[in-house]
Symmetry: C2
Subunit: 209 residues, 2 copies
């Protein structure tokens, strides 16, 4: 019986009061992982960006909008949790400057200077205690396996789950779970519910005592 923190869904980074950057993450994989964790007898807290998905009623859900808010909520919650599953797709760039008024069209191009947002999983990974674990996700379009392993190392994850952009806002998913040695722990494909159960199984076997 563990207390598992799950980040889920996209975040938004506003350009002005109306426009923002985001991605198509639906929160379905987060909801499926929460359901799998609850079915396995664990407590679940979800920190979620704006989504339409229904999370299990047994889970405690903390809604956030931006990546900074998601990180702040994680830093507050993680110390009382056994592990983090970072399946959210936080917006990782934000405008250097957010306009206070809606940018009016002038017919001219505009230039947006973007800076990186803090990395939620890396920040938590750097702070985790020896008995805590962190599972990251990597969505890659190029050199997928290599980049996923670099992320696992950089974010101090115990396992990383690799998937492609076709997973976003889809009912099905295909993932590969990699461990710190670079070994492929599992290849899972099918409905997100089944894939989530397989990921939970790997976490229980490898990371929970």
């Amino acid at each position: 019986m563990a207390h598992i923190l799950i980040t889920s869904g996209p975040t938004r980074q506003y350009i002005d009061p109306v426009r923002y950057m985001t991605n198509g993450s639906s929160g379905r994989m987060g909801a499926s992982l929460a359901a799998a964790a609850i079915a396995a007898g664990h407590d679940v807290t979800i920190i979620s960006g704006p989504v339409q998905v229904d999370y299990p009623i047994e889970a405690r859900v903390i809604p956030v909008i931006t990546t900074e808010e998601m990180l702040a909520a994680c830093e507050l919650e993680f110390p009382s949790c056994d592990g983090l599953i970072g399946v959210a797709a936080p917006c990782d760039y934000r405008p250097e400057r957010v306009e206070g008024h809606k940018i009016a069209k002038t017919g001219q191009p505009i230039t947006l200077h973007l800076i990186e947002t803090p990395d939620v999983v890396a920040t938590i990974g750097a702070k985790k205690k020896p008995q805590q674990w962190v599972v990251g996700f990597a969505l890659e379009t190029e050199d997928a396996r290599f980049r996923a392993l670099v992320k696992l190392e950089k974010k101090n994850c115990d396992l990383i789950v690799l998937n492609g952009p076709e997973a976003m806002n889809a009912a099905e998913n295909q993932v590969e779970i990699l461990d710190r040695a670079g070994t492929s722990v599992a290849l899972l494909s099918g409905p997100k519910e089944e894939v989530a159960a397989g990921i939970m199984q790997a976490i229980q076997t490898r990371l929970m005592k």
Copy 2:
């Protein structure tokens, strides 16, 4: 009995295969206007960006993603319609160049060059026949009334409906309808269903023979 074209919801402009720019338009006002038009006995075709809202089953719905797709669908449908209600919030900037691969984080800022997308309502407004009408929406945060009237003129609308950013993804709305003379035709506030019925009433009284 008229055939009314309604654009609804946001559009998305992709930066790379994962990230995009958009806004919080929910499609609720479009759905409410469609319901009001159908209740008044009209045929409705909706061209909608990605939304979660349920449109009336009596409406024909054409789903689109980008502003360019929304415009292309409008250009195809408008010639057989009596009027257009442009309540969508099309993304009005797009990256000059869309990256084919997910942009990898390097720790460094990035610069995004944005150009304006074509204006859907203005393009249709410029082509409308004498017996056709166009109703635009203006979402403004500054100099609202002045900017709305400039848009009405520039987009060749017959009426323009002015609202604020607080309308986005909300159940209620507060709007002012302005005509080509700059006269305030109606001030409406309340649940979107009621505001939509009021807007439909103004369209029927002023624009339909």
